[in-house]
């Protein structure tokens, strides 16, 4: 597994596009922070600026990082050298999901750290800011959810054999289908929708959407969805030939 993580790290860092994604997500956060200049910064405002405001963008970048694992392999034919190096396909998928989760979490943490530093410089921050446990909980969940989205994107990329299509599908799922389902089914359904339940959980008061805080069961929804997707991807990888279009 260590060799696979090293392989993935080399793969990710050797493409300029990935550094551009990282720079983009940090720049997006910093530009957003400028709107908070001169205002008071308490824990709730900090969570809004550091987590809620940019969560969608961070998920999108995390999805792009995860989806390229198999998406690029099938597009450019590198699936063959990859499978020659790691012929156990299930292990390859699991390792790539873990590596993408680490990368997605790291990207979110870096953006959060840069944003936090700028906010502290620009705003009048509350003396009790750092003592609020809900701030740290939201910061941690914001980063972890980006990692989970990256891992999910690994599975979707393997299923559809394309990075772009995988990102588009995930964006539609999180940005269109789930909000429509929430409207159609009522606010209570949010707790059962993977992306919206994560959004709720990462919010300061556990309720970013104003439909009531989610319960502990919501925390299981996304991991279950992730497990199902990776299971389907493992089955597809196991029975498909390693060819590319």
């Amino acid at each position: 597994m260590t060799a696979l993580l090293r392989f993935e790290w080399r793969r990710l860092r050797s493409l300029r596009g990935n550094w551009a994604l990282l720079a983009g997500v940090v720049a997006f956060a910093l530009v957003g922070d400028l709107t908070a200049a001169g205002r008071p910064l308490d824990a709730e405002a900090a969570v809004f600026h550091l987590v809620q405001r940019d969560l969608g963008v961070r998920w999108l970048v995390a999805a792009a990082i995860g989806a390229q694992a198999f998406g690029h392999d099938f597009r450019y034919g590198t699936i063959r050298p990859t499978l020659l190096a790691f012929p156990r396909r299930g292990r390859l998928l699991a390792g790539r999901a873990a590596a993408a989760a680490l990368a997605g979490t790291a990207v979110a943490l870096l953006a959060t750290a840069a944003s936090f530093a700028l906010l502290l410089a620009l705003t009048r921050w509350d003396a009790g800011l750092f003592a609020d446990p809900r701030l740290w909980r939201s910061l941690a969940l914001g980063a972890v959810t980006a990692g989970l989205v990256a891992a999910l994107a690994v599975g979707v990329g393997a299923l559809v054999r394309g990075a772009g299509l995988a990102v588009v599908l995930l964006a539609l799922w999180a940005g269109v289908l789930e909000p429509l389902a929430a409207v159609a089914l009522g606010g209570g359904a949010v707790a059962l929708l993977p992306f919206l339940s994560m959004l709720q959980l990462a919010a300061y008061a556990g309720d970013a959407l104003g439909v009531g805080a989610t319960g502990p069961l919501s925390a299981a929804v996304f991991p279950l969805c992730l497990a199902a997707t990776l299971g389907a991807a493992a089955a597809a990888l196991a029975r498909r030939d390693a060819t590319h279009p």
């Binding site: 060799a3 034919g77 590198t78 499978l83 190096a85 029975r239």
Partner: protein, 239 residues
Amino acid sequence: MRIQAQGLTKRFGGRTVVDDLSFTVEPGRVTGFLGPNGAGKSTTLQLMLGLVLGGGRTLFDGRPYRELADPPREVGAVLDARAFHPRRSARDHLRMLAAGAGVPDRRVGEVLDRVGLGAVADRPAGGFSLGMAQRLGLAAALLGDPRALLLDEPANGLDPHGVAWLRELLRAAARDRAVLVSSHLLAEMQLLADHVLVIGRGRLLADAPLRELTARSGSLEAAYLELTGGEVEYAAGGP
């Protein structure tokens, strides 16, 4: 390393592309793998390495490829010259593979120099000619200093100097390794191979030492045309 292919079979839809193919590739010699277009050579090589799924099995010193302890250090393969991300440099492509194989980075520089790509190693591989891409594929196959080499049309795109260089490289590699090379270049194969496998429509037509085949028919080309006369799937019309 001895490579034993046993009953390899692959069907695409209702069509049998590889049909119960069995042969052995012995170490210490170059085994040429010949056949007309569409005979199933590339599919056979991919079956052997578990890249396409089908019937039969291939054992590398008694173990299937996926059960080898350290595959890139035991078997090197070139199946598709352009199997790299076009925006990644040749050096980064190899560093990535080296990281996966547990091979130190300095080995990357060694194999790049060995295949003649040292001067262009930091350029994006997408700009490489077919010959340069073949050299990069060979560098990847040699990275782990493996005990067996499986190469699919490695001379494609190489200029005459490159073909001669490849011949010397493979002859040297075969002193202590098993080397299986598919090719359409019969004159080149006559200079390179010690043993020849010929397939047609996925079936084994010949499995014999080169000397035996050429003694029987006069040249490898004559033997090949004799063997595959009825097996050509994509025959052209007259001139």
